[in-house]
């Protein structure tokens, strides 16, 4: 299935990408699974998304827990903890 990936703030700069269409392999079913899959794309992905890094995730513009399930067409965003206000 295809999803739309988005990256914001420091994570966007680290990855050099604000987002892309991404084909999720069938073995990946959750947003945490997707994060772990993406972290295997190369060194910068590993250092940006590795387990333990403070990364927040949202599915379709709603904060998502790691176990949240993905479906085709989802907008999946990864970003650092927020610092507005």
């Amino acid at each position: 299935m295809k999803v739309k990936l988005l990256f914001f703030a420091g994570l966007r700069e680290q990855l050099g990408s604000s987002g892309e269409e991404f084909e999720v392999p069938s073995s990946v079913t959750t947003v945490a699974g997707l994060r772990s899959h993406l972290s295997q794309r190369g060194e910068k992905w590993q250092s940006a998304l590795a387990e333990g890094k403070p990364i927040r995730m949202a599915i379709n513009q709603d904060m998502a827990q790691p176990g949240a399930r993905l479906k085709a067409g989802d907008e999946v965003a990864f970003f650092p903890p927020v610092t507005g206000g």
């Binding site: 403070p54 949202a58 513009q61 903890p81 610092t83 507005g84 206000g85």
Partner: protein, 148 residues
């Protein structure tokens, strides 16, 4: 309810005036956040930002008697002394207005997708989230801790 995420400035008097018209309004509490010494760029997640703020305001409305509410948050380049954020809450009595205003600010700081990048003389850096902001938001989850 008005929620606006915008690059431009806002006028506190106008915004407070806009939510004070109802005859039942007896109290308006407002908070304005201002840029301290360092110029910054504020990035946000268009779409999610507005819906996250709306959810926070709705939750405040479920907890306190809120007659009307305005939240404005700016993004883009901001200089020291410029206004960043406004939360204004109109209620019949001050208790609801104060509490709802503080709750909305605390939740906004931990749940609305904004990120600050400070432009220091030595270079730019992303501001790191503060655990004090998490604690400020968490105290609203346990009513017993609200007063502390």
């Amino acid at each position: 309810m008005k929620v606006s995420v915008q690059p431009g400035d806002f006028d506190l008097n106008v915004e407070v005036g806009n939510i004070s018209g109802e005859k039942t309004v007896g109290a308006v509490a407002s908070f304005v956040g201002v840029v301290r010494e360092v110029p910054m760029t504020l990035e946000h997640y268009p779409g999610m930002t507005e819906s996250a703020i709306r959810k926070i305001v709705e939750e405040a409305g479920a907890r306190w008697k809120v007659i009307d509410c305005t939240v404005i948050h700016r993004y883009g380049e901001l200089k020291p002394g410029e206004q960043i954020v406004l939360v204004a809450v109109a209620s019949a009595h001050r208790g609801d207005a104060f509490a709802a205003c503080e709750f909305i600010m605390d939740y906004l700081k931990t749940r609305a997708p904004f990120w600050k990048k400070e432009h220091l003389q030595g270079g730019a850096r992303w501001v790191e989230a503060r655990s004090a902001d998490d604690r400020a938001a968490e105290r609203w989850q346990d009513p017993a801790k609200k007063a502390s």
